[in-house]
């Protein structure tokens, strides 16, 4: 693979049922590229949690995945309310999701920690009232 491959997705913020479709597609694409199941799982779980977050908190957004020779980068961009305190948001169990979301099986305060757990690098840039951009990288072992 000499040139980077890129995939772009618009994440619909209105529909919780369809949330995760972009991650499913990425999983399929990565399988076709012949990456190992562990790498594929780490990328798709991190992206899935991010996608769910965008639907719950930000009214949707965009997901861009770039596959390079030695790393896979996922960039999630939304124009939601932003994250007030990133350190607090990174703590397991902290969540601002409403009860209606908890009844659907999410909002346990594990989304961002899971994204960090499954990636080699994660950076959150967020401005309250403007939006959030999360950049994650998963290294591909040689």
């Amino acid at each position: 693979m000499s040139e980077a491959l890129t995939f772009h997705f618009d994440v619909d913020g209105e529909n919780f049922t369809s949330a995760g479709q972009a991650s499913v597609q990425v999983k399929k694409n990565l399988r076709q590229l012949g990456l190992t199941p562990e790498i594929i799982r780490r990328v798709s779980i991190a992206m899935y949690e991010g996608e769910i977050n965008m639907v719950i908190h930000a009214g949707g957004g965009m997901a861009d995945v770039t596959v390079n020779e030695d790393t896979i980068e996922i960039v999630l961009t939304d124009h939601g309310p932003g994250i007030k305190d990133i350190d607090q948001a990174m703590q397991e169990g902290f969540s601002t999701a409403p009860d209606s979301i908890r009844q659907l099986g999410f909002g346990a305060g594990m989304g961002l920690p899971n994204m960090k757990r499954y990636t080699d690098h994660m950076h959150i840039a967020s401005t309250v009232g403007v939006g959030t951009t999360i950049t994650m990288q998963v290294n591909i072992p040689k």
């Binding site: 919780f16 049922t17 949330a19 995760g20 991650s23 499913v24 999983k27 199941p37 799982r41 798709s44 779980i45 899935y48 949690e49 769910i52 908890r102 659907l104 099986g105 999410f106 346990a108 305060g109 594990m110 989304g111 920690p113 899971n114 757990r117």
Partner: protein
């Protein structure tokens, strides 16, 4: 543990992908919180849950899980069954409650994942 053995132990009804009852699961997770499932489970696992929505199937798909058991007689929607079929995932439903269903499987040798600090 073979999926067919789980079916017998839990007196469960198979809802789709019966052709995969011969596959084996090596670990299990019982939860209604999908992010907890995403945090700890390894592949070729079974998920036991009382939650019914399409994200249950997607979560299992992300984790490469091969079987979901719905407890307390919960039934997945037709859309969920379609999603599961696309992935060859066995869906089953049992009358047993979560605690009992997990206990029966554990007692018969299907232990969950151990955490590093356990």
């Amino acid at each position: 543990m073979k999926i067919s053995t789980m079916k017998e132990l839990l007196d469960a009804e198979v809802l789709c992908c019966e052709e995969n009852l011969g596959r084996h699961v090596y670990s299990a997770c019982g939860s209604d919180m999908m992010s907890d499932v995403l945090a700890y489970v390894k592949d070729q696992a079974v998920l036991l849950t009382g939650l019914v929505n399409s994200q249950v199937i997607r979560t299992a798909e992300m984790m490469d899980m091969i079987c979901i058991v719905f407890v307390r007689s919960k039934l997945p929607t037709p859309e969920m069954i379609e999603l599961a079929k696309e992935n060859g995932m066995v869906l089953m439903t049992t009358k047993k409650r979560m605690y009992n269903a997990c206990g029966i499987l554990y007692q018969n040798g299907l232990v969950g994942n151990r955490l590093k600090n356990e």
